[in-house]
C-alpha cells in the first residue's frame, strides 16, 4: 500500500458503489418487469394457442343458398365459405389484407369487397383485384361431402 499521489486506484469506492446500485436497480427492474410482461402477454399467448387450429368442420352447408357465403371462425380469425353459382366451393380468410377489416361476399357481382377502404378481391381465388389491398386473401383447402364442409389450411 502506498499513499503516493501518482497512484490512483483503478476502482474507486464511488465507482464501485455506483455500479453496485445500478446493477441492483437493473435486477429489481427485471424482477418487476418480467412478471408484469408475462401477465399482460398471457392473453395474446392464449389466443395464439387457440388459433393453432388445423381443421374446421361446418355442418349443413348444403342448406346454404346458391350463391352465398357463410362466415365462420378459423382459429382466432374470421373466414368465409363461399358457395358459388356453379356449386363450386371456396374458403378464404375474411380479413382484408389492407388494414384488417372483415370483408363481405357480393353475390350479385361474384366479388369480395371490403367496406372500409374499397378493396376488391376475386371470390374464387381471393386474388386482390382493385383498391388498396396489397396481397390476396389466403385460401383454405375445402372438401364438401354429404352436407359437411371440411376446411383445412392449404
Amino acid at each position: 500500500m502506498s499513499d503516493s499521489p501518482e497512484e490512483t486506484p483503478s476502482l474507486t469506492r464511488r465507482v464501485f458503489v455506483k455500479t453496485g446500485i445500478a446493477a441492483a436497480g437493473a435486477c429489481y427492474a427485471a424482477a418487476l418487469g418480467y412478471p408484469v410482461y408475462q401477465y399482460l402477454a398471457a392473453a395474446a399467448q392464449k389466443a395464439e394457442a387457440e388459433s393453432a387450429v388445423k381443421e374446421v368442420v361446418l355442418n349443413d352447408v348444403d342448406k346454404l343458398p346458391v350463391p352465398s357465403a357463410l362466415m365462420f371462425k378459423f382459429g382466432g380469425h374470421p373466414a368465409m365459405l363461399i358457395r358459388h353459382g356453379d356449386d363450386a366451393w371456396t374458403a378464404l380468410t375474411a380479413v382484408c389484407t389492407h388494414l384488417g377489416c372483415t370483408v363481405q361476399f357480393d353475390a350479385k357481382q361474384n366479388l369480395i369487397t371490403c367496406a372500409c377502404h374499397g378493396g376488391v378481391y376475386n371470390a374464387s381465388t381471393g386474388a386482390n383485384i382493385s383498391g388498396p389491398p396489397p396481397k390476396p386473401l389466403t385460401a383454405f383447402h375445402v372438401v364438401v361431402s354429404q352436407g359437411k364442409a371440411v376446411v383445412t389450411r392449404a
Partner: protein, 363 residues
C-alpha cells in the same frame, strides 16, 4: 458529435423558459427535514404514498383481466390460478392494501402524538382523515370484488350494520346494494366505486395533502420545539432524506414481495346465497374494533337502541378526533397538551384492545 451535456442543458433551458421550473428546484434544494429521536415517524407518510402507488399499478393490472358482473368470480379464479403471475399481482394488491391501511393508521397516530396537527397544519390533519376514510371504503368495496363466499358474507354483514339504523334500510338497499340481497348488482356498484369514484376523490385529496406537506414542511414534536433553534438538527431533503425515503420504500417493496410469495392470497368457493355462513366469519382487521365495540355495546343495551347508541358514540368520538386541532391549540411552543395525549392513548389502546378481543371471540 454534439456534446450530450450541452444538449441536455439546452433542453432544460427550453422547458424552463416555458414552465419556470427554477423557483421550484430552488425551493426543493433548500428543503430540510428535522432530525431528532422521533424522526423515524417521518417516513410513514412516504410509506403510505408508496403503498398507494403499488395499489394503483397492481389495480390497473388486475383490471386488465377482471370482469365485473356475473363473471367476476370466474375471472378472479383465472387471474389467481391460470394467468401467468396473476396470483402474484393479486396477492401484491391484497397485501399492499392491508399494509397501506396499517401504515395510514401508524402515520395518523404518529402525527397525533407529535402534535403535528397544530396550527398551521389543521388542514393536513383533516385531509389525512379524509384519506383514511376513503382507504377504508376502498378496502370494503374491494373486498367484495372476487365474489367468493367470504366476500359475500363480509359485505352482507357490513351493509346490514348501518341498515339497522332507523330509516337507513331503504337507502342502503336502493343505493349501495342494488336490491334486497348482495348480488352481481351490488358487485357492479362496488366496482364502479372502487375503480372510478374513490380514485377520483382520493387523487385530488392526496394532492392537497402532499401540497400542504410541501407548504408547511415537517412538524416538530413539542420536545424539539422546546429546544432553542441553534440546537435543532436537520438534514437536506435532497438528496439525504429522499435517498433514505427510497431505501425505506425498497424495504417495503421487499416485505410485500415476501408476503405475496410466501402467503399468496387465496380464493374461496364461489358465493352462494343459499349456503349458510362459514363458522368464524369476521370483518377485516381494520373494521374489527368498530365491529367489536358495537357487539359489546349491544350486550349492555340490547336491540336497536344499542346499535343506535353505538353508532352515535362512534360519530361523537370521530368528531372529537377530527376536532383535535381546534381544542388542542398551542399556547406556547413546546407545550405538550397532556390531556390530548391521554385522549390519543385511550383511543389507541381501545382500538388495539377491541381488535384483540374481537379476534379472541371469533377464533
Amino acid at each position: 458529435m454534439p456534446n450530450p451535456r450541452k444538449f441536455l442543458d439546452a433542453a432544460y433551458q427550453w422547458v424552463d423558459e416555458r414552465l419556470d421550473l427554477t423557483p421550484v428546484i430552488e425551493h426543493a434544494s433548500h428543503k430540510r427535514v428535522p432530525e431528532h429521536k422521533h424522526s423515524f415517524w417521518y417516513y410513514w407518510g412516504g410509506i403510505c404514498l408508496f403503498l398507494f402507488l403499488v395499489q394503483v399499478l397492481t389495480g390497473v393490472l388486475l383490471m386488465v383481466y377482471y370482469r365485473p358482473g356475473p363473471d367476476a368470480y370466474d375471472s378472479v379464479r383465472e387471474i389467481t390460478y391460470q394467468i401467468r403471475f396473476g396470483w402474484l399481482i393479486r396477492s401484491v394488491h391484497a397485501w399492499s392494501a392491508n399494509l397501506m391501511i396499517f401504515a395510514v393508521f401508524v402515520h395518523m397516530f404518529s402525527v397525533f402524538f407529535m402534535k403535528a396537527y397544530r396550527q398551521p397544519r389543521e388542514f393536513g390533519w383533516w385531509s389525512g382523515l379524509g384519506l383514511l376514510g376513503l382507504c377504508m371504503v376502498f378496502g370494503f368495496s374491494g373486498y367484495l370484488l372476487p365474489m367468493d363466499e367470504l366476500a359475500f358474507f363480509a359485505t352482507r354483514v357490513g351493509l346490514a350494520i348501518p341498515e339497522t339504523m332507523p330509516g337507513m334500510s331503504g337507502i342502503i338497499s336502493a343505493l349501495l346494494r342494488g336490491g334486497p340481497e348482495v348480488s352481481s348488482a351490488t358487485l357492479q356498484r362496488f366496482f364502479a366505486l372502487h375503480v372510478v369514484v374513490l380514485p377520483a376523490l382520493f387523487a385530488p385529496l392526496l394532492g392537497i395533502h402532499l401540497w400542504l406537506v410541501q407548504k408547511h414542511g415537517n412538524a416538530l414534536p413539542p420536545s424539539e420545539e422546546a429546544k432553542p433553534e441553534a440546537q435543532r438538527k436537520s438534514i437536506p431533503f435532497f438528496p439525504n432524506f429522499a435517498m433514505r425515503d427510497m431505501a425505506v420504500w425498497l424495504v417495503v417493496l421487499n416485505i410485500i414481495a415476501l408476503l405475496a410469495a410466501l402467503f399468496p392470497w387465496q380464493l374461496d368457493a364461489a358465493a352462494d346465497p343459499l349456503k349458510s355462513a362459514p363458522p368464524g366469519i369476521h370483518p377485516e382487521w381494520y373494521f374489527m374494533s368498530q365491529f367489536e365495540a358495537l357487539k359489546l355495546l349491544g350486550r349492555v343495551i340490547p336491540g336497536t337502541l344499542g346499535e343506535f347508541a353505538g353508532v352515535g358514540l362512534f360519530t361523537l368520538a370521530l368528531l372529537l378526533w377530527a376536532a383535535v386541532p381546534l381544542f388542542d391549540t398551542r399556547t406556547a411552543p413546546g407545550q405538550r397538551g397532556r390531556i390530548t395525549t391521554l385522549f390519543g392513548l385511550i383511543v389507541l389502546l381501545a382500538t388495539i384492545a377491541l381488535t384483540i378481543i374481537g379476534y379472541i371471540e371469533v377464533l
